[in-house]
Symmetry: C2
Subunit: 258 residues, 2 copies
Amino acid sequence: MLGHIARRLGHQMSNGLKGMNLPHVLTKETHRHLQSPFDTICPVSMMSLWPFSGKPQDFSQPNSSWSPEMVRLYEHYNALCDAENENGEKKRGPWRKLPSYDRTIKYATGGVHLSKLVQAKARLFTRCIEEEGAAFEYVAFLNKVEKTCVCVFQAGHLLEGAPGHLHGGAIATMIDTVTGTLAGYLSGPVMTAYLNTNYRSPVPLGSVLLIHCALDRIEGKKIFVNCKVTSSDESKLHTEAAALFVSINIGPLFGTQS
Amino acid sequence: MLGHIARRLGHQMSNGLKGMNLPHVLTKETHRHLQSPFDTICPVSMMSLWPFSGKPQDFSQPNSSWSPEMVRLYEHYNALCDAENENGEKKRGPWRKLPSYDRTIKYATGGVHLSKLVQAKARLFTRCIEEEGAAFEYVAFLNKVEKTCVCVFQAGHLLEGAPGHLHGGAIATMIDTVTGTLAGYLSGPVMTAYLNTNYRSPVPLGSVLLIHCALDRIEGKKIFVNCKVTSSDESKLHTEAAALFVSINIGPLFGTQS
């Protein structure tokens, strides 16, 4: 259970400001799991951390808005998650599909600036539009051995910049999300320090893209991640980016002592 | 009329991929106006360029979701748009409020990649959420003499990254939008080449921010713009950015010869 929760938390934490240390809520043992989300299942129940009723919806599951190309790529990477060993037995490979929810867990005091009403309505930016296919459709896979992350992203019609084309800010949003996901998994809670984005060619709305992220290096608290956004067949480079994330704890973020 | 349409077009063009040359639709005379959107009114009616019924809604007008601070800043900059001369007469100063619509005008073949159905549903990314106050509430003012642009931005609850805080991608989206607006007004249709964003301190959801953009330099087709995002009283620096835009024509964007 904890393994599941930890993976969920780990992914949520890697969105936006990429999570935080959880000194007020989590035990040391739990925190160790958060920083190693691939660890085996822990018997400690942590369901009370999830503040909403029912099981959260994983928005990175296929839906009817996904184009055949999107589904094909999803199935390709999903198949890599269950590899077989030489005896033909199922065995977990280095790849993991990352779930994706529409809310960061209220595990910390993050809503302190908001009224109770607004806290309840707050949604993760990349999952805030409910209509399937209208905005960000994406699913991310992480390779813990190669320290890479690949995201299959279908750009919906509400993400328009120039007529018929994807807004540069929407591309930056996905790059920040995916690079941050990788950095968060490798180093625990992180925050974006910089994001340098080079736009090479415009992206038609409706396109399916691959967002490839790879760890460049870790220097102390600094995690450097590189990123390329290509067409789904990888023949066309649309965007390149370099991002720096910094490991943080919750203190500075919420104005309390760390 | 044309002056109005040209300003409208000019602002729309400066969003996302920041507009384009319009060889197939616009006359040379019209195009001159697009590149000089502050010119006086031209007698030629261009209403046929607007493909939707009725007058488009300017989403940068105050609404009930705007906080008192947002309204105060709006009124401050709006007052600068109507300056008085020494005789106490109303006189247009260097400041202009820029209107903001939820769709780029279908003046070109931008929807060529989309089905007719999706073309009709496509919306500008920063204006795609209808609920007032939920996402991007903003109004931009441009100073043609100083070659600067300032945007008052209220961050809604659907733009969440870490709990209670603005997503880094949402900040990048606004920076791309406002720096591109300035570049587009100064040099006609442009496209983002790079956007380098440094995140200095996290932004609580619900904050009102000022996004200050200033022309750095123009080198041929390259327009370099700097940007700072601060708290509404300008005491706190949240984000710094440098952007490069390149003047374009419509050809390369849509795969036709320029």
